[in-house]
Symmetry: C3
Subunit: 255 residues, 3 copies
C-alpha cells in the first residue's frame, strides 16, 4: 500500500504527465456531456475527440491514447461504435474507462453495461445507484473491492466520498464540493479525466486516484468563489487548468 | 381568479415543492439545449433525464414525474421516442409539456406538432412565431385563451411579456430580462421548468406561472450583474438556484 | 489590395451589418459545438438554426442567409443533410462555409471533405493539421494562396496567426489569445461567424477577415479578465456582444 503522502506525490505527478504529454482521449459519450467533457479534458491538458460514427472510430482510436465509453446516450449508432472501438482499443492494448450512466433506469442499458464489463475496462466510474445493476445487489461500499477483484478492474465509486479500489488496494478520496452534484455531466467529465490519467500511468488504480483527486481539489477551489452551480461549473474548469503541483499535493485527502 | 399576491404565494410555494420533492423530468429535447436544460433543472431542484432511445424511453418514463417533448432536433429516432414516451406518460397520467421549437421553419415539424397537440399536453410553451403554425393564423395575444380552451391545455406564450392562459384564466407575467433572448436554449429550459412545476402542482396553469415567473425573476437578478450574454447565461443558473421565497414573492409581476 | 486601416474600417462595418440585419446562419455542425456556436452567433447579432434532418433542411435553408457545413459529427444523417443543404444553398446562391473538422483522423471524412470542396464553398476555415488532408501535402503557409486560387475559395487558416487568402489577396490577422485553443468548439464558432459575415458581405475575403478579426479582438478582451479557460469561454461571448466599432478598429492587427 501507499501512504497518503506518497499518493499525493503520485497524483501530482500524473497530472504533470497529462499536461506534458497531452494524451488524446477518445470519448464515446452522451450528447449532454460532450461539450463539458471536452472542455474539462482541455483544462487538464489532454486532447478530446468525440466521433461516434462506427466507420470512423477505428481511425480515431489509432491516434488516441485512451478510450472512454459512456452510456448516457444509448442510440444504435453509439452501441455499434462502442463495439468497434473496443475491438480497436483491445488490439492496441489501450486503456479504457466504462461509465454506465443511468443504468438503474434502463434494463437494456444495464445488460449492455454488463457485457462491456466482461470486456475488461481498465476502470469503471459510477455512482451508488448504478452499482447494483452492474455488479449485483450487495451494499456498495463493502462490495466494491470484491467486485473489482472479481472483474479485474478498478472501481471508482463517486459520491460525497469517492472510493477507488482494485480489489487489493482501496482508498477513500475526500475531496470535492457539494455543487459538483448540481452540474450535469460532472461525473461524465470525471470518467474522461480518469481516461486521461490512464493514458500516462499504467497502474490504473493510481491513475484513477490522481484524476478523481485533481477534480475534487479543483471543485473545492471553485466552491470558494462560486455564487451557485452556474459559476461553479465554469470556475472548476479554471481551477483544474490552474491546479499546480503544490496545491494538489497540499489539499488531497486520501485515507 | 387569483389575486396577484395570491399567485406570488403559490409560485413561491411551487418552487419550494420542486426543491423538496426533486421531481425527475424526462426531456426528449434537442442536442443544442440538452446541457443547458439539464443544468437549469438541477438549479431549480429537479432531476433531469434525457434519453431519446425508443427502446429505453418507457423505462425512463416509469421513474419520471413529468415529460418534456421539445421538437428542436427532429430526427427519426426522436420522433419514434416521442410516440413511445407519450404512450407511457398517458398510461401513467403523467403531465407533459410540448415545446414546438422552430415549427415556423418546417412544415413537417409543424404537422407533427399539431398531432402532438391533439394528444393533450398539459401545457404548450412557445413564442409568437410558433403560434400560427400550431394554432392557426389569428393574432396571438387575442387567440391564446381561445385556443387554450379549445385544446384543453395551458398556453404559455413567452416574449417580452409572458402570457399564461388555460382559456378561462389568463395572466401576463412581466418578469425577465432582454438578455434571455440572446442565450440559446433559454426557451427550451423554460419549458423544462414548466415540466418540473407540473410534477408538483396539479393545476397546470398555476404550475406554468410559477415556472415562468421564477425564471423571469432569476433573469432579472442575473441581468443586474451580467456583463453580456455569456456571463448572463451562467448567472441566471446561479440566481435560479439561490432564489428564495421572499425574493420570488417580492419581485414577481403578474397582472 | 486594401491597406490595414481600410480593412479595419471594413471589418467594423461588416460587424455592424450583422447586428443590423440579424442574418440567419443555418449550421449543420457537430453536437459538441452546437450550443457554443449558437451562443456565439447570437452574441454577434446573428440568428442560428441547427436542424440536421434531411427532410427539413430545405425548409430551413429557404429562410437562412448563409450555411455552415461542419464535419465534426459525421453520422449518416448529417451526411445526407449536407448533400440536401448544399443543393438548396446552391439553388439560392447562398454563401456557405466548410469546416473540415478533424479530417486528419479519418480518411473517409477527408474524402467527404474533398468532395464538398469541389462543390465550391465560399470559404474554408481550418487549422494546419486539417490542411494537408484537404489540399495536399505542401507547407501550409506557402500553399494557402495557391489552393485558394485553384479552388476559387477563401482559405481561412487559423492558429497563432490567422491567414485569410483568396489566392490573389492575402492577410495575416494577428489578433486572438492563447486560451482560445483551450475552449472546445472555438474553431467551429469561428466558422459560423464567417458564415454570418458572408451573409452581409459579398466579398468573401473581406467577410472572413471581419469575422476572424472580431473574434480575435473579443478573445483579447476576454483574456484580460479571464481566470482560466472556463471564464474565458464565457467572457469572449460577452466581449463579442459588446464589441464596438472603435474598439474593433483600434485593436485589429492585419498585415
Amino acid at each position: 500500500m501507499h501512504a497518503p503522502a506518497e499518493l499525493a506525490d503520485i497524483a501530482a505527478d500524473v497530472l504533470a504527465r497529462v499536461r506534458d504529454r497531452a494524451p488524446r482521449v477518445h470519448c464515446i459519450t452522451n450528447t449532454v456531456a460532450q461539450n463539458y467533457t471536452a472542455n474539462m479534458l482541455l483544462a487538464a491538458g489532454a486532447v478530446p475527440s468525440m466521433t461516434i460514427s462506427p466507420d470512423e472510430v477505428v481511425s480515431f482510436i489509432a491516434g488516441a491514447n485512451a478510450l472512454l465509453v459512456n452510456l448516457g446516450t444509448f442510440d444504435a449508432e453509439r452501441r455499434a461504435a462502442v463495439d468497434v472501438a473496443l475491438g480497436a482499443a483491445g488490439a492496441a492494448r489501450m486503456p479504457w474507462v466504462l461509465d454506465p450512466v443511468f443504468i438503474e433506469s434502463s434494463p437494456g442499458r444495464a445488460e449492455f453495461a454488463r457485457e462491456l464489463l466482461a470486456r475488461g475496462p481498465s476502470a469503471v466510474r459510477l455512482n451508488p445507484a448504478e452499482f447494483a445493476p452492474l455488479f449485483g445487489g450487495d451494499p456498495v461500499d463493502e462490495a466494491a473491492s470484491r467486485v473489482a477483484a472479481a472483474c479485474a478492474t478498478v472501481v471508482v465509486l463517486t459520491g460525497t466520498t469517492d472510493i477507488v479500489t482494485d480489489g487489493s488496494r482501496r482508498v477513500a478520496v475526500r475531496n470535492g464540493h457539494s455543487l459538483m452534484a448540481l452540474v450535469t455531466a460532472m461525473g461524465c467529465a470525471a470518467s474522461a479525466l480518469v481516461g486521461a490519467a490512464l493514458a500516462v500511468e499504467t497502474d490504473a488504480w493510481l491513475a484513477a486516484i490522481a484524476a478523481i483527486a485533481a477534480l475534487g481539489v479543483a471543485g473545492e477551489i471553485a466552491g470558494s468563489t462560486a455564487r451557485g452551480p452556474g459559476t461553479f461549473a465554469t470556475a472548476i474548469i479554471d481551477a483544474l487548468h490552474g491546479l499546480d503541483h503544490a496545491t494538489l499535493r497540499g489539499r488531497i485527502r486520501v485515507s
